[in-house]
């Protein structure tokens, strides 16, 4: 009796999640399937599955923009996104440890500064920032996009602070007694223990940088330097016929790296590293 009850519960759980999941994922499927349709069919029918699977849109889209094939954009995106993500993860963790565990002069002041930069809409600092980077001679390179990522990103710093503060302080103290300095405590104890936050940061930052449009738009002028997200926006000019097929095809391709990153990292959120033994 109890067993059937359990199976029933489990069944309801899965049915419910799958039904809801279809709802969640429908627009994504629509885009993916549309990329195999002919341009006239995309808006013509309500059916999800294309009448004939065609790869034309991929061929068209891959030709890219302004004589530069899409492969270039992918290479650029990988270069920018990987460096930016690495920079963000390490710098944010370091800064977060400083804020979470060490007492120092004017700490609150800097923390408030960090919060304020998150509240200020980017559009209003965009121009002075551009002038600054222009004067530094960094326009038309990836420097303005990558270098700031090595300075700790407020969102992730704040996230990691919350995770570090969730760890018992006795850990630090016992390590101190064992003769560890702050830097060793950070690298050997804290950094591994906040791995859920590190993984989350990696997933997010990879996706956000991949999706970033305004930064590359301002700083990368030559089509050879364009990133995927920037190139994707070039399909639409309001006055002319848009190549929806080509746009959805490249849009679908652009999802693949984010998808892979997510799949390969998300499982570490429940498996692998365990903090169970900590308080034992």
């Amino acid at each position: 009796m109890r067993r059937t009850q359990r199976w029933l519960n489990l069944g309801i759980y899965h049915v419910f999640i799958i039904l809801f999941g279809v709802l969640m994922v429908y627009p994504v499927l629509w885009m993916v399937f549309s990329s195999f349709k002919e341009n006239t069919e995309i808006f013509g029918t309500a059916s999800l599955i294309p009448r004939h699977f065609k790869l034309d849109a991929y061929v068209r889209g891959w030709q890219g923009v302004g004589g530069v094939p899409f492969g270039f954009f992918f290479r650029n995106s990988f270069y920018y996104v990987i460096l930016a993500t690495i920079g963000t993860v390490f710098s944010s963790a370091v800064v977060a440890y400083g804020f979470a565990r060490i007492k120092f002069f004017a700490k609150n002041f800097w923390f408030v500064c960090m919060l304020l930069t998150m509240m200020l809409p980017y559009q209003v600092v965009m121009i002075p920032q551009f002038i600054l980077f222009f004067k530094l001679g960094w326009v038309n390179s990836f420097l303005p996009l990558i270098v700031p990522m090595f300075c700790g990103q407020p969102f992730f710093v704040f996230l990691m602070i919350q995770f570090i503060r969730g760890l018992p302080v006795e850990l630090d103290e016992s390590a101190k007694i064992d003769g560890c300095g702050r830097f060793r405590i950070f690298s050997k104890i804290i950094f591994p223990l906040i791995s859920p936050a590190i993984i989350t940061t990696t997933i997010f930052q990879f996706y956000w940088r991949w999706d970033d449009f305004l930064g590359p738009l301002l700083y990368l002028n030559k089509p050879r330097l364009y990133t995927v997200s920037l190139a994707l926006r070039m399909f639409a000019d309001p006055a002319t016929a848009t190549d929806w097929g080509g746009m959805f095809a490249m849009g679908t391709l652009s999802l693949v790296p984010i998808f892979i990153i997510f799949i390969s990292f998300q499982r570490y959120l429940v498996e692998g590293i365990s903090t169970t033994g900590l308080k034992g």
């Binding site: 710098s91 007492k103 509240m119 209003v124």
Partner: protein, 306 residues
């Protein structure tokens, strides 16, 4: 001699003031180098007449005064407040609920997590805007679904000034993936031994949830609350994507950041845009400060804040 200096150097290094700054150094450097000047500039712009194409001219409080009598400013503020106060709780509750469902070890669950996260990674893409319109138009899927359960409706949800903002709110709830992931990471940090101990004591699921899960999650809930509030107030992409930047219909989806953007870059009134930005910062600062002040009452840390 050298040894002594070395020792002194070490002591200096070990002092909290120095190590503290060494750790937050990257942020301080980045802030001073890349953020401070632009921020100061935007403060100056907010007191200027600045059309982007010629240098700003100091103009006192004109921009702030003009805001008071600007019908669209007030409209955008109310739209944003409405949006933020409905969408933030909705998104967080939904995200926590789903994270709880998915906090178990199984191949299938990993697959589910991916499916539920997918909507969040297509973010502000044009495919979303097209889809969303198709769902909520008069002949869209929502009305068809309503017809199935016997409600006849031929409203264009997205074209009706009363309901249009709700399509944005639902979009926000639909893209709950990032909050869900943070909750998952938070759940992961709760020691499993606590649950085992509670089970031995005969606690049921509800008791475990309210006595263990929620208290241990409070730092993460706190983080999500602050960040989502900031996100909610500065929402731009979704509104831009759904209405093509127009705020249609009848400005009912003209959110604050959209109006700010339009003022600054379409009407070339950057001074006014900056003034609006600082008013927004002020409002957000008040809300954030309230959340921070209240946090000592409900956020549970392993360590006390210094």
């Amino acid at each position: 001699m050298g040894f002594l200096q070395n020792n002194r150097f070490r002591a200096l290094l070990a002092s909290d003031n120095v190590t503290g700054y060494l750790f937050i150094g990257p942020f301080v450097l980045g802030f001073l180098a890349f953020t401070l000047i632009p921020v100061l500039a935007s403060i100056y712009f907010s007191f200027s007449r600045y059309d982007l194409l010629s240098p700003p001219v100091f103009d006192g409080l004109r921009n702030f005064i003009a805001m008071f009598s600007d019908e669209n400013f007030w409209k955008s503020l109310t739209v944003t407040l409405h949006y933020a106060f409905v969408s933030v709780p909705l998104r967080l509750v939904f995200a926590l609920f789903v994270a709880m469902l998915f906090n178990r070890k199984s191949k299938l669950v990993g697959c589910y997590r991916t499916i539920y996260y997918l909507p969040s990674i297509i973010g502000g893409s044009i495919a979303v805007s097209v889809m969303w319109r198709r769902l909520f138009m008069a002949d869209g899927a929502v009305n068809s679904a309503l017809a199935l359960i016997g409600i006849k409706s031929d409203t264009s949800w997205i074209g009706n000034p009363k309901t249009a903002i709700w399509t944005l709110i639902i979009l926000a709830a639909w893209q709950f993936g990032s909050s869900m992931l943070i909750f998952l990471a938070g759940l992961k940090q709760i020691p499993g031994s606590l649950y085992e101990a509670a089970e031995i004591d005969g606690a049921n699921a509800f008791q475990k949830f309210f006595k263990i899960t929620i208290p241990h999650l409070t730092p993460v809930i706190f983080f999500n609350l602050v960040m989502q509030l900031i996100n909610g107030f500065t929402v731009f992409t979704q509104a831009f994507v759904i209405s093509g930047g127009s705020g249609d219909p009848m400005n009912s989806t003209l959110v604050y950041a959209l109006y700010l953007y339009r003022k600054a870059f379409e009407f070339y009134d950057m001074g006014y845009g900056c003034a609006m930005a600082w008013v927004l910062v002020l409002i957000l600062a008040v809300f954030t400060a309230l959340i921070f002040k209240s946090s000592s009452l409900w956020v549970y840390y392993e360590t006390k804040e210094d």
